[in-house]
Amino acid sequence: MPLTRDGLIAGLSAVADHMETVADVLNTLDGQLGDGDLGVTMVRGGREVKTVLADLPPEIGESLMKVAQAFTRVSGSSYGTLVATGLMSAAKATRGRTEVPWSEVSGLLNGAFETMKARGKAELGNKTVLDTLDAAAKATNGLDDPRAILAAARKAVAETMDRMRQTPAQIGRARIFADKSIGLDDPGMVAFAEMLKGLG
């Protein structure tokens, strides 16, 4: 069964609920390298997204656009903007369709990666969410079963975080704390990993 509005709502709802449970962890981690509001961003964004779920249209693209707009409404941080940017990229790619085959997920992740990279003016290897997103896109290429996709994405994200933990942050506010960032996970990567965890 492909991805439909109902599946989208269930997934987003689960992710939003999961954010409530990890907000403190994200805030603390972000506070070591930035302004410490990443958990707040994700929780506020998740709560606002939940308010629009019931009214989402049957088209996946139009639904994702509404979700992205809800997210930006309440989260002014750059991470919130990037998440919304990724959602909008997927919205454009699925516009007008009520069903999206799971085999497209890899491509949607890659599309989100490209637009977020352009908007955030970051590169691969800068130790940002982009590194994990790219890894997830590549690891899910060719897969069409949702469970297999999720498992592959989570594995790729975990491996990328392990690999980059000892490297310094190279962009954004965390760059100012480059030395301190060595040995710490990038908060944006952790937030992405937690989003996947929320999916099951």
């Binding site: 750059s78 903007t81 454009k92």
Partner: protein
């Protein structure tokens, strides 16, 4: 803080309320939270819309330049703060007459992110958009990194010229080309003598000694290139013109419109004292002055200071610059 206001958190909404109440023939309020200022009436079918947006505190920039032959709509943020994505999307929608919308605004990170996202949103509604960024402040980055420069008073020329082009019925590609040409033709720099106070912060944006000036300072108090003792007007003008001409020299026969702009509190008297040097230097280099502008065109509230903008004109740009236009703050 010594300012005439009520609740600092109502500063922007109250000023917009007063603006449209005073000038209903030019402006109406619409959009989320009333934070979009648009021309009265519906967008003209078939005309390319031009929207801008940015923080408040710079009147007549940005909102003031909504008007015939100028802009169609503006998304209005809090003082020195970017408007939201939704406000920008609303500004684009209200400006859309079916021929697409040009986003024309200053090169500031928050504004770019939000305007890009607003463009993504309206794209789903089949509204085509393009972007031209103003990067006229020569003090904000060296020539090699000119694309990183901030947009300041030079945007007034881009608003005027692009607005005139859109009024002729030119299509989106053509209006965008002309707006980019205008953006490429302007160079600005400024000097600040005192800071301004952001109402919600209640504190000056920077500190500067009583007898000092800062050359090259940004309109939000971003650091300039040199802090020094306050000098006579002719020397200040000379140094600012040197900065502009170092970036783009005047060749004999160049036709240039100069703007001598008050950053808010500097009176017209002092602008005219400065204009003498502007005229002298342009003409000494063999340039010809076209349509000089002297006054309050782009400000930082009560900041004492001035900016100079030179706009290099060719025949096309000059025609559009001189075309009729009207808003509450400027009539051509």
């Amino acid at each position: 803080m010594k300012k005439i206001l009520n609740d600092p958190f109502h500063y922007v909404d109250e000023l917009l309320e007063g603006l449209v109440a005073a000038h209903p023939e030019f402006y109406r309020r619409t959009g989320i939270g009333g934070r979009v200022i648009a021309r009265p009436g519906e967008a003209r079918p078939g005309k390319v819309g031009i929207v801008t947006g940015g923080g408040s505190g710079h009147l007549p920039v940005f909102t003031g330049y909504v008007g015939k032959g100028l802009l169609d709509a503006c998304a209005v943020g809090d003082v020195f703060a970017s408007p939201s994505v939704d406000q920008m999307a609303d500004a684009i929608r209200v400006a859309n007459g079916g021929a697409g919308v040009l986003r024309l605004y200053g090169n500031y990170g928050g504004d770019i992110m939000n305007f890009d996202m607003a463009g993504d949103i309206v794209e789903m509604e089949d509204i085509s958009t393009t972007t031209v960024l103003l990067t006229d402040d020569v003090a904000s980055a060296p020539p090699a990194e000119a694309e990183k420069r901030r947009g300041v008073a030079g945007m007034v020329y881009a608003f005027k010229i692009a607005g005139a082009a859109a009024e002729t019925g030119a299509d989106l590609g053509e209006v965008t080309r002309i707006a980019q040409k205008a953006a490429d033709a302007v160079r600005s720099t400024g000097v600040a003598l005192t800071p301004c106070i952001v109402p919600q912060a209640g504190k000056p944006t920077f500190s500067i000694a009583e007898d000092e000036m800062e050359i090259g300072m940004g309109i939000h108090g971003e650091p300039g290139v040199r802090v020094g003792k306050l000098e006579p007007a002719d020397r200040i003008a000379g140094e600012m013109i040197d900065m502009i001409l170092k970036d783009r020299p005047i060749r004999p026969g160049d036709r240039i419109s100069p703007l001598v702009n008050s950053l808010g509190a500097t009176p017209p008297e002092e602008l005219y004292i400065l204009y003498r040097t502007v005229k002298q230097r342009i003409e000494a280099a063999g340039g010809e002055i076209v349509m000089p502008l002297v006054g309050r065109y782009a400000t930082s509230m009560e900041m004492v200071g001035v900016s100079f903008t030179f706009c290099w004109l060719d025949e096309e740009l000059e025609t559009y610059l001189k075309a009729p236009a009207e808003c509450a703050f400027w009539r051509v």
